[in-house]
């Protein structure tokens, strides 16, 4: 009898860790930092981290939707670079200088449209031409950044434009604007996933695409839709990064972001075979990824080693997922 009791208790502890593995990991990292990282508990640290987390989280949420349909999007980093390169070109142009208000509006709207068009391209490749997602999005992964660099002649574009920079440096209620933006997007996407037919179809397609199709689900349209959303969010993140730096560097903007976003989505509980879209999980995943980066950086660990640590996190997350399935 006593053995069964300890067994059930052990089991419930295990379930707790499995169900909230992300939160446990987060607490562990926070505790570690409080103990070892100098100046961790300061407002400045919080701000730096929030502004970094926001871009990862925004991209990771789009990635989560794509993964929920059983796909993947490798082109997000390249789309960031492309959108980020376009914005300064527009408001620094003669037209933009002559009409500052319209210039900034266009500098946000046009890059977003281009990013959405990139998503449309990915979506059509995957849903209409039946190209494997990893191959389909590899096309823009390779060419997108190239186009961005051609557009800027490979130069670093610096600027001072307070209106545009608000995207990355503005504060609302004392906290960075992009943090609020990420939360707003999360609430919106959560609503889409849980309350609309589009959201239901996203999960159904990832769960069993043939069944979804035979039940009348608009499979191709929904898939194109998620790639477009993912593209749009990547474009937005690209703009934010440029706004934070007051400079656009097509070679570095969003570089390796696809890995961070996939890692954040998976750590947040997305299943690579599809069928689950934990939007808030993606935010949690982004926070963890960012904190690990920060921890290693603040404690003087080299960038290359940080990459290995990130790989380790993905490994653990996938392992936990496998264990949970049984």
């Amino acid at each position: 009898m006593s053995t069964t009791i300890t067994e059930t208790r052990r089991k419930s502890v295990r379930q707790l860790v499995h169900g909230h593995g992300g939160i446990v990991a987060l607490l562990a990292i926070l505790l570690f930092n409080m103990a070892f990282t100098p100046n961790f508990l300061q407002l400045q640290t919080l701000f730096v981290n929030i502004s970094q987390v926001a871009t990862i989280a925004i991209v990771a949420m789009g990635m989560t939707l794509v993964i929920a349909t059983g796909g993947i999007d490798l082109s997000v980093g390249a789309i960031m670079a492309l959108a980020g390169a376009l914005a300064p070109l527009i408001f620094l142009s003669e037209f933009g200088a002559a009409n500052p208000a319209l210039g900034v509006t266009l500098a946000i709207a046009l890059p977003m449209l281009v990013a959405i068009a990139c998503g449309l391209f990915n979506g059509i490749m995957v849903a209409k031409l039946n190209v494997q997602p990893i191959i389909a999005t590899l096309i823009l992964f390779i060419s997108g950044r190239g186009i961005a660099q051609v557009l800027t002649n490979g130069n670093l574009q610096t600027f001072t434009n307070p209106h545009f920079s608000y995207l990355g440096t503005g504060k609302v209620l004392g906290l960075p604007f992009q943090g609020w933006l990420a939360i707003g997007i999360a609430i919106f996407l959560y609503f889409i996933i849980s309350r609309t037919t589009f959201g239901r179809y996203v999960l159904a397609i990832g769960g069993n695409e043939r069944a979804a199709q035979l039940s009348g689900g608009p499979v191709a349209l929904v898939k194109i839709g998620v790639y477009m959303i993912c593209g749009a969010l990547a474009g937005l993140a690209g703009l934010i990064v440029v706004a934070i730096n007051s400079a656009s560097d097509a070679a570095r903007n969003g570089s390796l972001m696809e890995l961070d976003a996939i890692a954040a989505a998976v750590v947040g509980g997305a299943l690579l075979q599809g069928g689950r879209a934990p939007i808030f999980g993606a935010i949690l995943g982004a926070v963890i990824i960012q904190l690990v980066k920060y921890t290693l950086l603040a404690n003087g660990v080299q960038d290359e080693v940080a990459l290995i640590a990130k790989a380790g996190i993905i490994l653990v997350a996938v392992y936990v997922q496998q264990a949970r399935k049984e």
């Binding site: 309350r195 609309t196 037919t197 239901r200 179809y201 999960l203 159904a204 769960g207 069993n208 043939r210 069944a211 979804a212 199709q213 035979l214 039940s215 009348g216 689900g217 608009p218 069928g275 689950r276």
Partner: protein, 505 residues
Amino acid sequence: MTVLLEMNAIQKAFNGVPALSGASVEIERGEVHALIGQNGAGKSTMIKVLTGVYRRDDGKITFNGHDSVLTNPREAQAAGIATIYQELTLVPLRSVTENVMMGYEPKRFGAFIDWPAAHARTREILTRFGIDIDVKMPLGSYSTAIQQLVAIARAVSLDAKLVIMDEPTSSLDSSEVKTLFGVVRSLREAGVSVLYVSHFLDELFEICDRVTTMRDGKTVGCARLAETTKLDLIAGMLGRDTSEITEAGMTEFGGGTAKKGDILLEAKDVATGPRLTKFNMTLHRGEIVGLGGLLGAGRTEAARALFGVDPLRRGTISLKGAPAPSQPANAITAGLGYLTEDRKAEGIIPDMSVRENMTLALLPRMTKGGQIDRARERKIVQHYIDALGIKTADMEQPIRELSGGNQQKVLLARWLAIEPDILILDEPTRGVDVGAKREIQLIIRNFVDRGYSVVLISSEFEELVEGADRIVVLNEGRCITELTNPGVTEHKLVQALAQTSEASA
């Protein structure tokens, strides 16, 4: 005879809900032992506890003279238990050979798979079942029936002491069932025991020695089949008195009663590929048309063509006088519904709830201002859970946790819920128990009586003969003849099939 397996007072609960509460079964060596019970009685759970898929909460299992503590299916296989699970667990994208040989491939130099030998061995195993197919093709390119036979062939070839078959005949037609019975008999002669789960009670009397009956997770009886009757078995499963159950008319259908209305759906010389080359059919309002035929006759392909899944290569299909829609989504809008044959691959979305699965086809019509009307959704779902007697903890339970027969009912509800003019039903009662089968047949009959129409495919001839107003008989992708009720008997259908297969041979 000595006892091979004893499972005693087994307890198993899922999230606090008991699935087994004191279930027992005892199997002798060389015995064919039947396990029966209503949908959700706990038959499959009992098997999974035995093979280590689930860990039992309590109870004792003795296998081959030893306490059994199997913790995963591989160990069970090594211990001499070969299992064909209710939901096929093979790998559709892999070749037939890989599926049959998985884990037991003949090796060359102890490391490299000897493919020629593997293919030859697979062909040899399949020949016992009278299956002659290209073993190098992906398994998924063959019909559900072939896949099921392949699963059985694999299990039987494993040299086991106990072979477990969870509803092996649910997608087989009578000739394949005969082949299977032959194999079961030869297993018995070789001293191998068989645990046989089925909802076809007549089958049990043909090949089983003893039967254990389960109800609500408990064992309620064990008897020699020679000393019992079908009526007793049904009474035991339902927990009622035999006098309350009349055996008359085991199907609730009564074909041949329909008054023909106008033509709703018409197929003329339809071809979609090698497996459907010449299909003709007319469906009137208020009529059930059955599609009869053997394995590979093209029945499922015909259904797919009607629903706009496979594009037409030749011929025309018209729906209410207009050309038929060419996409499932359009077909649904135009008033068609299609319950597919393969529950796992084309029906359920395993991780979604009963509610979400049931309303999947209804979704476009259930929105209010861009949002899903959740109050209405719950109402519809609750209605069908009650109407079909679906056994589920609540409507939020993931569908994969339901028993096979209850999953089937959810899928039927998915299509009833859209209230279509025409329902295409491919094996609608697959895996549902005797009681529920009659209820479903009654629902189909009522549906037709309200002026709607049904295309019915069933490998059970009884269901087809008694249910359909007309039967279109197919052979190798072509329509051969048409039988009209009243007056069709199983004998006549079998004759029609025999003639056509002779003619084509």
